[in-house]
């Protein structure tokens, strides 16, 4: 790795973040000179016993005060606007991104590709494709941080957080856990391997012996008993899951929520919290019976039903 003074910039966003960083460094140096030079000059010129002219100046002081209140204020707002714009861009994952699910657990990262490949503390991604990470934690708050991509997002238990990056250079870049999470917080590191697309496809095939998340979700759907109620032919009056993901769902309290990852996760683990309009609260809770990975696999399966037509509704 050798000795570096500045981190490698290996993602589309890294350049924009570095630009703000350099602009702020320049502004800081300018303000430092604006403070240090007069400080030094006055300290020397007006040192005690020097024969400098000390007749009190007549210039009204409020003129200075107003200038060094207004100017820093507007410079600050300018930097805020620029950084907020880049931040909004950092926080909006593109629609066509590769989906990777991350589960943080005390002191290791478990990653799972949509195609089914599972990795521990390793993430293989093709260069030039946006990758969206959907993350949750099994215990405490962790933080998935890749300095080379200037990317960081806390991984909070009980909810999904997401971040995305577009790698632009092939290579191995370190993953750090950036939120203190216990004894081996420092050991919770890993590597992101950015590969050429061809090598990535080869890697997918050679290591992809496991079933895809969708397939695993479908298997779990019957194995755990969801199909008993939610399958098309079942007699029990339960909401159909075809064409559900991403569409609005009216709740019996009168609100309307969109069926995103959070909605489906809460419905699996806390069924009573959001009851669809026109249904009773019959569903048992699966909290404690499904691991975080299995919940993500079920969600992947339900996502795959998003574009199918529900059996008895006219399109």
């Amino acid at each position: 790795m050798g000795f570096q003074l500045f981190p490698t910039s290996a993602s589309a966003n890294a350049g924009e973040v570095d630009a703000i960083f350099w602009a702020l460094t320049g502004l800081s140096l300018f303000i430092l000179t604006l403070v240090f030079l007069p400080l030094l000059f006055f300290a020397i010129k007006y040192r005690r016993g020097s024969r400098a002219d000390r007749t009190p100046s007549k210039i009204p002081t409020w003129k200075f005060e107003v200038t060094w209140t207004i100017i820093p204020f507007f410079v600050g707002m300018g930097i805020f606007a620029w950084a907020a714009d880049v931040y909004f861009h950092i926080e909006s994952p593109p629609a066509n991104a590769l989906q990777v699910d991350v589960v943080g657990k005390q002191w290791m990262w478990k990653l799972q590709h949509a195609e089914g490949n599972r990795e521990i503390n390793e993430l293989h991604v093709p260069v030039g494709r946006a990758v969206k990470l959907t993350m949750t934690s099994q215990d405490v708050i962790h933080d998935f941080f890749v300095p080379a991509f200037r990317m960081k997002q806390d991984v909070v238990p009980g909810r999904y957080t997401s971040e995305w990056f577009m790698p632009t250079r092939v290579g191995r870049y370190r993953i750090f856990c950036a939120q203190f999470c216990g004894t081996s917080h420092a050991a919770m590191t890993g590597w992101v391997d950015v590969m050429k697309p061809a090598d990535y496809q080869k890697w997918l095939v050679t290591t992809g012996q496991g079933e895809s998340m969708e397939a695993a979700g479908k298997r779990l759907f019957t194995q755990v008993g969801c199909s008993g109620c939610h399958e098309a032919g079942s007699k029990i009056h339960a909401p159909h899951l075809e064409g559900l993901y991403g569409h609005p769902v009216p709740l019996d309290g009168g609100q309307v929520v969109t069926a995103d990852d959070k909605y489906i996760r809460d419905s699996i683990l806390l069924p009573g919290s959001q009851i669809t309009a026109g249904y009773q609260n019959l569903m048992p809770s699966f909290a404690g019976r499904l691991t975080e990975e299995e919940v993500m696999e079920l969600i992947a399966y339900i996502k795959s039903l998003a574009d199918q037509q529900p059996p008895d509704y006219a399109p």
């Binding site: 006055f42 002081t61 600050g76 960081k152 939120q179 917080h185």
Partner: protein
């Protein structure tokens, strides 16, 4: 407030038997049950030195541990306990009490011409609460230590950390009430006990900054108290609002913790700014530039400081729109600090600047605090904070403000009022050397951490990738110099107690009521409460009068 200083000898103590002052009575009981604000200030000074020593040892062990990438000095959990005790003791038992409880307690009544603080017994109770809290925290370290960091983030602190968390949290809870009562005492003292003629705009700027600090002490600390109480209830009762399995929100803890902890960093820096305002005017012999702007910027920092806590949570799954609100407010809160720095610099213009030790510390404060403040802008900018959050850049930023700013201010204030506190002068040359050594040691310790932070090394790591080792070695070298820089004052100030020259009432020729009473002052501060009728810092041009030879 222009004291007539025509004859230098008039206020020097007569030879022969020294007049009775607040220090003459020497029984232990007279110290432990004192309600004299000056003695309570000294009690605080001795106790914060003990806590500073423990936390400094922890810091030294951490710096040695970080010399090697794989961390050879201590086990990982011991390192986690080290940075927790370093954080807790430094924040709550050194930085927050140091200037308010030591210098504030001693100097505020003297500065406003009062005989004591408004509630002397409450003042003594505050010290006992502070000590009881400190004992609880140190006890929790002895019986095994806590490894959650001084931030006690849930769910780690409530479900996964060892049970000592409850003892340490109880210690901070109790000490918190000590600081609430100190804040309450100061607000009432400043409102109700000013000398006749001492209107608000004739008050020294140290009083303005102590008033704003007390505002924060009083309004922010209770929220910390209830948050820590919630953690204790969740650990003991097994259920709580921060527990994600129950639908509680761990980020809610961060909201309530930082609602206190960001104003807390202003509790730490505002008194330092007050001291620097005093030092810059005294040692440049000139009325402060822009008195009103500096006074109101203290109040502005105190109020706006309550609205910016979200910048600690930009990447914590806080909504991006809330992030933008907090980012705008964080840029706005930086403006009053900029006003202060520019005003201090402008005060030197056409002054007559001398470079005694307090002035060196004040100039050091301005330099390092400006760097600390500017790096704060990096962390307030949303996109850059995504990269920099929880890295060594943040560690360097807040050490520049707390150690570079606050401790320099405390040292400057301690040297400036040392003659008034002890009646003895400290050795000037030794003081100047210590100030320079501290300045050099500090920069060598913490500037490399800015580079390390942008390179991406997260904080609270006991082992790190080998390519970062160079920065850690530089920083440890700097830490040893900084250690020397802090030991020197301890030695020569103790030495000065016995052998220092006798201090006259006004060794610096400064304006201010505290310099109109002999040093050390009598038990009731003033024979007769002084009358104030002039402008503050009314330094007549130097030529017309003589100043005691130092």
């Amino acid at each position: 407030m222009n004291p007539v200083l025509d004859t230098p000898a008039s206020t020097a103590p007569q030879e022969g038997e020294p007049p009775e002052n607040y220090l003459t009575e020497h029984t232990v009981i007279s110290w432990l049950l004192t309600t004299d604000h000056k003695r309570i200030g000294i009690l605080y000074l001795l106790s914060i030195l003990v806590y500073f020593a423990i936390a400094a040892v922890a810091a030294a062990m951490m710096r040695i541990e970080l010399l090697w990438p794989d961390g050879r000095l201590v086990l990982p959990e011991t390192y986690n306990k080290l940075f927790t005790i370093h954080g807790v003791l430094m924040v709550w038992f050194f930085l927050i009490p140091s200037i308010p409880a030591v210098l504030g307690n001693f100097v505020i009544p003297l500065m406003i011409g009062a005989r004591d603080v408004a509630f002397p017994k409450l003042n003594l109770l505050s010290w006992y609460l502070f000590m009881f809290g400190g004992v609880l925290v140190v006890y929790s370290v002895i019986v095994g230590g806590v490894d959650t960091g001084w931030t006690f983030y849930t769910p780690y602190s409530t479900t996964y950390a060892n049970p000592n968390v409850v003892t340490m949290v109880a210690g901070v809870f109790v000490a918190g009430f000590g600081s609430i009562l100190t804040g309450l005492n100061f607000i009432i003292t400043i409102h109700k006990m000013r000398a006749p003629g001492l209107t608000w705009f004739r008050l020294p700027l140290f009083i303005w900054s102590m008033y704003s600090t007390s505002l924060i002490l009083v309004l922010a600390t209770p929220v910390l108290a209830i948050t820590l109480l919630a953690i204790t209830v969740e650990r003991i009762w097994g259920i709580g609002i921060f527990d994600p399995n129950l639908g509680g929100d761990p980020v809610l803890f961060q909201h309530m913790f930082w609602f206190y902890s960001h104003p807390a960093v202003y509790i730490m820096i505002l008194p330092g700014m007050g001291v620097v305002s005093e030092l810059i005017t005294c040692f440049s012999r000139k009325k402060i530039f822009g008195y009103n702007f500096i006074a109101f910027s203290s109040i502005a920092i105190a109020v706006v400081g309550f609205m910016v806590w979200g910048h600690h949570m930009f990447v914590s799954s806080q909504s991006i729109y809330a992030g933008m609100v907090f980012s705008i407010l964080s840029f706005i809160v930086a403006v009053p600090s900029a006003i202060k720095v520019f005003n201090w610099t402008a005060t030197l213009y056409k002054g007559s600047v001398s470079f005694e030790t307090p002035m060196l510390y004040a100039l050091g404060f301005i330099g390092l605090f400006t760097i600390g403040g500017l790096t704060g802008l990096f962390l307030a900018a949303l996109a850059v904070d995504v990269h920099l959050h929880d890295t060594y850049f943040v560690v360097a930023h807040f050490h520049y403000i707390m150690v570079g700013g606050m401790v320099m201010g405390f040292m400057g204030g301690l040297h400036y009022w040392w003659p008034k506190i002890t009646g003895r002068m400290y050795p000037e040359m030794a003081g100047r050397v210590a100030a320079l050594v501290t300045f050099v040691g500090f920069n060598l310790t913490f500037f490399p951490l800015f580079l390390l932070g942008y390179l991406g090394q997260p904080r609270r790591y006991h082992s790190y990738p080998p390519e970062f080792q160079v920065f850690h070695v530089l920083s440890t070298a700097g830490a040893s110099i900084l250690g020397v820089g802090y030991l020197m004052p301890l030695i020569y100030l103790l030495w000065s107690l016995r052998h220092g020259k006798k201090a006259p009432a006004n060794p610096w020729g400064a304006t201010g009521l505290e310099w109109q009473t002999p040093s050390p002052p009598p038990r009731d501060n003033f024979e007769t409460i002084p009358e104030v009728n002039g402008e503050p810092y009314d330094y007549p041009p130097l030529e017309q009068r003589t100043v005691e030879p130092i």
